[in-house]
């Protein structure tokens, strides 16, 4: 039985700033919502080829394919790791000073 193809996006870290970026079809964006999903194995293979493009050496580091869920409202990340990357921040209030709670007390 054929395995159902899971849509994927092409993602990497931006070379200069290190932030997570996604291939939009026209360039790299730090916004996950702008990612362009590959909806077939053939499109995914194209993304693989694209990932190896020499011109990207000056833009991004370590491109790879990440699974996504495609819904009517848009894309959802396919794992917690990718969800955290899509949020571009830790899951807790990391900028609150370590002692802020103590000070408030």
């Amino acid at each position: 039985m054929a395995k159902t193809f899971k849509p994927v996006v092409l993602t990497a870290n931006a070379l200069e700033g290190g932030e997570a970026v996604w291939w939009t079809g026209a360039g790299w964006s730090p916004r996950f919502a702008e990612a362009c999903p590959a909806r077939s194995a053939e499109e995914a293979a194209l993304f693989e080829t694209l990932a190896a493009a020499p011109m990207f050496e000056r833009m991004v580091v370590g491109p790879y394919l990440a699974e996504v869920e495609v819904t009517e409202q848009g894309l959802n990340p396919g794992s917690r790791r990718e969800a955290i990357r899509a949020d571009a921040a830790p899951t807790f209030d990391y900028l609150v000073g370590a002692g802020a709670r103590e000070q408030a007390a």
Binding site: N13, E16, V61, R80, R81, A98, G99
Partner: protein, 551 residues
């Protein structure tokens, strides 16, 4: 503390210039990533989930107030206003931009700091007892030994391309506050029957996916043989260690597979064969380095402090902190203070720039301008007069640095985990926060007593969970975070690797599980027993049944 001479300054400044060129060539495309990556790693620059991460070396955890202020400036100017102190006594910045890193390294070089060899397959920061030079039970300050090793290992041409990372730790006391038995090489300063100072050498410890306690490979090594022996030990590793499999490449695998006796024999043969005179430092150099760590002139003070006692009577919160967060000092009337970076609900080991500046000011005012980072992600002021403890406490309070929880259930070690780290399989910091909030009540914490919880967000064990009294390992089980619990780990001279309790738990379940373990301990402990002691007496079954439903 050690001060750079002209050679040291030249090395770090030239290193910055070299890296500046490498970054420029990477940005221009002249260097590809697979060429650049090993170069940036040798300067401590990782690429994580959201950003680059720069790991700055804090040699054996010791830094000056001026250096701490520079770290604060870097956090503000080049990062997001905070830094993270690590389980190897270093500091990490989570948000630097690639083009800024050469400037950051120059700012570090300006205060005699660097990020050399904080990553990569080389010898890393040599870590030590945060109470070095102060502890009442110390045979000798381990830091001159650490500084010798640092100089020997920095840019060592033969060991720049090891099979894997290499970590060394040194303790100057029999009580091991440096976890030497879970390091690649652990060094204990000892005295022989003739009263001579030497070293007991442990080789082949480690954590990660195959935790091991290091065997003793040499019982007594005379002082001047240290560097040649280390060289021999590394040579045998470099020659025989595996390079075919990243997960079998640490020296612990080699010692385990060869057997400690066979490994020891090879080291002694190499040691006998090598030109030791070329490697061993002469006495002049040993003395030169030791002089930097000469003990300060202690004031003649009575052992007890009236001001301290009065302060404790006046403020019960202060009394709690003074009892929990101080450590016995060799000089009467002094104490070593541990500043907790584990406030309830905080990210363990994080400090804002403001907090760093406050700690620097506190060090200047109360502790001879020096601070230490501990491998449990706290900060030590080693030489505080007991008379000054009340003033110090009030100063720490202004920045929320007064948590009275050293060694207690909320003094949690956690790696950055899936919130930051590209290697992680699960979140660790939010687990620490949830546990910490569950046990926020200070009286309850003291009732429970010493209990070291250590959390790792993946099998690489950067949170040292294997040597936690309670260890928590976060894994990914079919896309869902699953936390394995281990019990009975210990990092010190009674080192032990924790034992798994059984199946893992979901993220939401972990605080309940910890609470059940604690409640079981409180129910069965004998008078005066710590959690670890009760576990060692009663065994796993008593605790296992508390957290798993009866079959």
């Amino acid at each position: 503390m050690y001060r750079y001479d002209e050679f040291d300054a030249q090395i770090v400044n030239e290193r910055v210039a070299q890296f500046r060129g490498q970054v420029a060539r990477r940005l221009s495309g002249a260097l590809k990533e697979d060429e650049f990556r090993p170069l940036r790693l040798m300067n401590g620059l990782y690429l994580q989930l959201h950003a680059y991460m720069l790991r700055v070396a804090i040699p054996y955890g010791t830094l000056s107030a001026d250096q701490m202020r520079q770290l604060a400036m870097i956090a503000e100017r080049y990062d997001r206003g905070y830094g993270h102190f690590t389980t190897r006594q270093n500091i990490q910045y989570n948000w630097p931009k690639l083009a800024d890193v050469p400037d950051i390294l120059q700012h570090l070089a300006d205060v005699e700091m660097h990020a050399i060899q904080t990553s990569g397959n080389c010898i890393r920061n040599t870590t030590s007892d945060p109470f070095a030079g102060a502890a009442a039970d110390e045979i000798e300050d381990p830091r001159p030994t650490c500084e010798l090793i640092r100089q020997w290992s920095t840019l060592h041409p033969e060991f720049t391309f090891l099979g894997r990372k290499f970590k060394i730790a040194v303790t100057g006391a029999e009580t091991d506050r440096a976890a030497i038995r879970v390091h690649d090489i652990g060094i204990q300063i000892v005295k022989n029957e003739q009263g001579e100072i030497g070293y007991r050498m442990f080789v082949g410890g480690g954590q990660g996916r195959t935790p091991m306690i290091a065997p003793v490979i040499r019982d007594f090594l005379p002082r001047r043989d240290l560097l040649p022996w280390l060289e021999a030990a590394l040579r045998v590793y470099n020659l025989h260690g595996r390079r075919d499999n990243k997960y079998k490449a640490r020296i612990k695998i080699l010692v385990h597979e060869m057997g400690a006796e066979a490994y020891a024999k090879e080291v002694e043969e190499e040691f006998a064969r090598m030109d030791r005179e070329v490697i061993a430092p002469d006495q002049e150099e040993i003395d030169r380095i030791a002089a930097y760590f000469a003990p300060p002139q202690w004031q003649a003070l009575p052992e007890d402090s009236k001001r301290l006692e009065a302060g404790k009577k006046a403020d019960p919160d202060f009394a709690r902190w003074a009892e929990t967060n101080t450590h016995a000092h060799k000089a009467p009337g002094y104490a070593s203070v541990v500043i907790s970076l584990k406030p309830v609900g905080g990210a363990p080991g994080d400090a804002t720039a403001e907090q760093m500046r406050l700690m620097a000011a506190a060090a200047d005012k109360f502790s001879l301008g020096e601070l230490r980072i501990t491998h449990e992600q706290n900060v030590v002021l080693a030489h505080v007069k007991k008379d000054d403890l009340p003033s110090l406490y009030n100063m720490l309070k202004t920045q929320g640095l007064h948590a009275a929880n050293l060694g207690l259930v909320t003094d949690i070690i956690a790696c950055p985990g899936l919130d930051y780290c590209a290697l992680a399989t699960a979140r660790s910091i939010p687990v620490a926060q949830a546990i910490s909030e569950r046990f926020a009540d200070e009286e309850r914490q003291r009732e429970i007593g010493p209990l070291a919880i250590k959390i790792s967000g993946c099998i690489n064990a950067c949170g040292h969970h294997h040597v936690g009294h309670i260890g928590i390992l976060g894994l990914d089980k079919a896309g869902v975070e699953s936390y394995q619990i281990t019990l009975g780990g210990a990092p010190g001279e009674d080192a032990a690797i924790g034992t798994r309790t059984g199946p893992g738990f979901a993220f939401e379940e972990v605080p309940d599980v910890i609470e059940k373990l604690v409640d079981r301990y409180l129910a069965i402990r004998e008078p005066g027993e710590t959690f670890l002691q009760t576990y060692r007496r009663a065994g796993m079954p008593a605790f296992k049944e508390a957290i798993y439903a009866a079959a």
